[in-house]
Subunit: 110 residues, 5 copies
Amino acid sequence: MEIMQVKDELTVTRRVDGLKTASLRVLIDHKGGLVVAVDTVGAHPGNWVFTISGSAARHALDDKGITTDLTIGGIIDHWDDDGSRKARPDEGAGQDQTKAPRSAKARKAA
Amino acid sequence: MEIMQVKDELTVTRRVDGLKTASLRVLIDHKGGLVVAVDTVGAHPGNWVFTISGSAARHALDDKGITTDLTIGGIIDHWDDDGSRKARPDEGAGQDQTKAPRSAKARKAA
Amino acid sequence: MEIMQVKDELTVTRRVDGLKTASLRVLIDHKGGLVVAVDTVGAHPGNWVFTISGSAARHALDDKGITTDLTIGGIIDHWDDDGSRKARPDEGAGQDQTKAPRSAKARKAA
Amino acid sequence: MEIMQVKDELTVTRRVDGLKTASLRVLIDHKGGLVVAVDTVGAHPGNWVFTISGSAARHALDDKGITTDLTIGGIIDHWDDDGSRKARPDEGAGQDQTKAPRSAKARKAA
Amino acid sequence: MEIMQVKDELTVTRRVDGLKTASLRVLIDHKGGLVVAVDTVGAHPGNWVFTISGSAARHALDDKGITTDLTIGGIIDHWDDDGSRKARPDEGAGQDQTKAPRSAKARKAA
């Protein structure tokens, strides 16, 4: 699973039937490249997420009939783009982390 | 899923039986490399598309017996090769986007 | 699916049972690296081919019990190593294309 | 399977259901990149591990319903980050190897 | 399938159950990176081998329950690390090829 940042939504009117009406996101991978993933957790531009690839990308969805090879697996609670996670006083799941100051101090889940 | 641009059709007279008569396209990936994908959405040279790889490439097809590892998943409505999508007054699905002026402003699907 | 050129046959006396007596080829990928693929279409050194990877590599074979992760999917009728295909007066499937002059003009299959 | 070093735990409150409550680790791959893996062997930051990817990542788990594409397969008894393993007088499985002096001398399992 | 050279055995005391007691090898890939593969053909350090990845890595084993994503598919009879195979008067399957003089002349299997 890889760590990426959500860049944008993706508009695809003409698509294969297998994708149904899945919500698509453009993500930036760690090399700066752009990829497309199915999103079911409600990730927003700026969120740091990790992605599930391959056949697991389909198994991760409630509707296993959606033919994706990349699915957002979750929104990382705290992440800085230098690869460190951060504890913030106002932390909460699903917040936009893009403006978070960077810190090398990691924190464990409660 | 990756974002690529259609370069050309591909002529392959001698092929494995598993590919049947699937329509093949040569695509340019984000590194400038060339790959081959099955096309069922009618993509034309110049179109920006996203591709589905791995076992999902087969599941994306109506005929799951076609042995591809890369299938065009859809034609992106608006895309510039600097990674930004663009709203155009004359926009429409399936148009050739190669000559579209670039813009960093994204737009959502209706 | 990727575009590669056949370099040589491969002699492997001691192999896993799952490969059976499949014919193996050494191919050169687009980065100049060497990989090994199962060949069932009769590709010769110098031929430009495209390869099917992953689980599709097995499905592409008549004998699905052969445990390959890379199979030659077909011989490209006309290909130059600058990435363009070429129309030749004497063209024919399965010819050795290594000595073909280069051209950026593509041609469609009849 | 690839050799990586455990960097940290990962906190992901909002995740796809398929991941259930699997314990996640951030790993550093051999290129210095960061990836996320499911851990069931109890790896700690600093441990050298090898990872199982693709569909095998799911099969490696007792609960095959966990939708991962990367699972820690085991903790390497002795490993230096220059790629050599080391015999130590106080060696034992599961120790933190990060402070081990480097040596090019490999040792076999008992 | 990729061509790699065996570097060493790998000692992993604490491992996921799915790997059982499979024999593991550290291999050097064509970029100089290190990977881990299951070995059932008896490859020794110095041997040139080719590897089977993905789901095929499991299918290649007699015990398909072993959860590997990389399996040694066979020992290449003659290989030089400049990518050419070599015919030797004393050639035989399974020999250590590390000391073989290099030659660009390939030879076909008998």
